[in-house]
Symmetry: C2
Subunit: 108 residues, 2 copies
Amino acid sequence: MRRDIFQAIADPTRRAIIALLAIQAMTPNALAEHFDTSRQAVSKHLKILTECDLVSQEQNGREIVYSLEIDKMKEIDKWLEQYRKIWETRFEQLGEVLEVMKKEKAKT
Amino acid sequence: MRRDIFQAIADPTRRAIIALLAIQAMTPNALAEHFDTSRQAVSKHLKILTECDLVSQEQNGREIVYSLEIDKMKEIDKWLEQYRKIWETRFEQLGEVLEVMKKEKAKT
DNA sequence: TATACTTGCAACCGTTCGGTTTCATAGGCT
DNA sequence: AGCCTATGAAACCGAACGGTTGCAAGTATA
């Protein structure tokens, strides 16, 4: 059972759940109302999200309120950082190219 | 066949391929040498990466050189941005809390 | 032309995924 | 106590996934 954050965000329904929980913590029932699938299906998604610590639960009487663990999202950001460096470098290079072109044009 | 960028990066082997291609464009054979799996398996991963435009191919004689399309990675960054806003806001709030605590302490 | 190399594609296989249905548990309400 | 509500867990199912094996196509090289 591979259960890392990348596998967790691969499913569109789970990304939607994350988006909803980012706005407001919610119970499974409240979440399920936003989807076409059954409550149980949402529950399974929540289980997966919980297993990789993207979401935390808090018992509140007979309800369970799920919250987004925003810090966990930083892991994706951290992974992305190496690539962000690349495209920022490329952008600088593009800037240099444009600079050279401007100078070339000024010569004429 | 769900084939978006999030599903593409869900697999660890594909993330490794992306990392390798970020360093240098490569042929499937050269890529496959870095993995335990067969060349065909790598080829299938490349197909998936190609289908969602994360990777581009250039025929070079009988070889095909694969390159990372770094711009496509920005899509993940764009998706992440909404959540980055949240954790940055939280950080600011934490800063405010610390500020208040400092003032409180200064009173004593 | 014959041969070797690089690659993609199709068929197959076991596992995982995402969903439904059914059931069990546990907390509130009358 | 008895009932309703909220939730998770288990069993099952079809589809997709990730892998292998075998094969065909195209390119270099003798």
